[in-house]
């Protein structure tokens, strides 16, 4: 089609995400709770400064995989990981410096949790633990709350308890707390499942903005949410016989939701599963 003798510019709604270097390389990862193998041979390249969603039915191992990325499983007795998870050249599975790892790879949980202290202290909590300078911490509070799209709503009441905020605000406070220590990767474990639809949309918008600076990996039960927020989506499934979780398909989200390659992915995203 042409207009005024010149080629009309094509209308672009959403394109495949542009090439991005790998931030986290997950290489043939398996995970055991005691003798039970919960994950088998998962390999996945998480692109830098993009949103990657892990979807799949309950028990497929997506939360286990997410928790492996900052070694949250260390708290589970008898658990064991195999394979490599390489974050900028360093193997997460074998690193001994957990404090640094969790500073680099932050996490936001399903239920909005605010620490029993003021909004300000919630955000300053980790920087204080790390011994940051007071002036840096003050700067960090505003930057983090702005990053979490909460500043305008709380700037006049920073000394009120975090618990005085609504559920959606508390979740954004948790995100502010997470970004306060300048992580490189943010893990989100069903961050909107306890929020109402409006609060959910605010957190989703926030994810899009945060992905300009951070690499985000999100576990979600809500497929439409993966469609809305994620640049890439990984579909996982529990093996019907051995019951371990495995990766079925990993693709740009627009591809996965239009033309999934694996029939199991198609069945799941179209709701024909089970």
């Amino acid at each position: 089609m042409s207009a005024g003798g010149t080629e009309a510019a094509p209308v672009v709604l959403r394109t495949l995400p542009g090439a991005s270097p790998t931030k986290v390389s997950i290489e043939r990862v398996s995970f055991y709770y005691g003798k039970f193998r919960a994950l088998k041979d998962v390999s996945l390249q998480v692109p830098e400064k993009r949103v990657t969603a892990l979807i799949g039915p309950s028990g497929c191992g997506k939360s286990t995989l997410l928790r492996m990325l900052n070694r949250m499983y260390d708290m589970v007795p008898g658990s064991r990981a195999e394979g490599r998870i390489v974050l900028d050249g360093e193997d997460v599975v074998t690193t001994r410096n957990l404090l640094e790892l969790r500073q680099r790879v932050g996490m936001v949980f399903q239920r909005p949790i605010s620490f029993p202290m003021s909004i300000r202290d919630n955000v300053a909590f980790a920087p204080r633990l790390l011994g940051w300078k007071k002036s840096d911490i003050e700067e960090t509070i505003e930057r983090s709350l702005r990053d979490a799209a909460l500043w305008d709503e709380v700037k006049d009441r920073l000394n009120l308890p975090g618990a005085s905020l609504s559920g959606g605000q508390q979740q954004r406070l948790a995100i502010a707390r997470c970004v306060a220590v300048n992580p490189e990767v943010i893990l989100m474990d069903e961050p909107c499942s306890a929020l109402d639809p409006i609060a959910t949309l605010k957190v989703e918008d926030l994810m899009g903005r945060l992905s300009q600076s951070y690499t985000i990996v999100i576990v979600t039960h809500n497929m439409q949410q993966a469609g809305r927020v994620a640049d890439y989506t990984a579909f996982m499934l529990m093996h019907p016989e051995h019951r371990h979780g495995e990766l079925v398909e990993f693709a740009p989200t627009v591809e996965l939701f239009q033309r999934p390659k694996d029939k199991r992915t198609e069945d799941y995203i179209t709701g024909r599963f089970g």
């Binding site: 939701f257 239009q258 033309r259 995203i269 179209t270 709701g271 024909r272």
Partner: protein, 220 residues
């Protein structure tokens, strides 16, 4: 299997589309029969039959809108809904061409006429066969077959160009009574509408390919 209601809705929509396709196929055949026989009454019946096709088309669009709004389809389901809508649009337009041919037939029936040139019969048969073939491809959701059917449109185009040139030559001969001029222009119009049916078949072929593969293609 989950989503039973949704699966039923999709099957019902597909069935409505095939019903609409069957009606359009008959409408085109009836229009060509009326044309061959300069049958004004037959042409009138073709015009009347368009109402039920338009009503089916309206219902289909409403139902598709409703299913998209309530079921949030993705992947193959979304392609099916969009594909059904696209194909329904093409079918409705094919029906419109049949009606136009019927209108021209009524005009021709009121004018002095010789036998139709053989190219009209050939074009009509080809168009009608193409419609039947593309509907088979639709029922099978067979992208390969759709491509084969679309490729045959070149033959209709060739016949149209030949017919067009020869009718224009006749107009150019001059010394026509106004009725002769009207007859020739009307025949050009009939040929044009037959050619457009072929073009719509190509569009349906593109829609079938989209439906079965998820890729938007342009067939020439």
């Amino acid at each position: 299997m989950t989503r039973e209601a949704f699966t039923r809705e999709l099957a019902a929509l597909r069935e409505s589309l095939l019903r609409m396709a069957g009606l359009v196929e008959s409408q085109i055949d009836d229009a060509l029969t009326a044309l061959r026989q300069f049958d004004r009454a037959g042409a009138d019946r073709v015009r009347m039959s368009d109402q039920s096709i338009n009503e089916l088309f309206r219902q289909l669009r409403e139902e598709i809108f409703q299913v998209i709004a309530t079921q949030q389809p993705v992947a193959r389901d979304l392609r099916t809904l969009m594909g059904v809508q696209y194909i329904a649009i093409e079918l409705e337009r094919m029906g419109d061409y049949a009606v136009r041919i019927a209108r021209r037939t009524s005009t021709l029936a009121g004018l002095p006429h010789d036998q139709l040139r053989p190219e009209f019969g050939l074009m009509g048969e080809l168009a009608s066969q193409q419609v039947r073939d593309i509907l088979d491809a639709l029922i099978e959701e067979n992208a390969e077959r759709a491509r084969e059917v679309a490729a045959k449109d070149d033959e209709i185009d060739r016949l149209y160009n030949r017919l067009f040139d020869s009718l224009v030559d006749d107009v150019g001969d001059g010394a026509h009574e106004p009725e002769d001029a009207l007859r020739l222009v009307t025949l050009i119009n009939v040929a044009h509408n037959l050619e457009r049916i072929g073009d719509r078949v190509v569009n349906v072929a593109e829609d079938i390919i989209f439906l079965s593969t998820g890729f938007v293609v342009e067939l020439d």
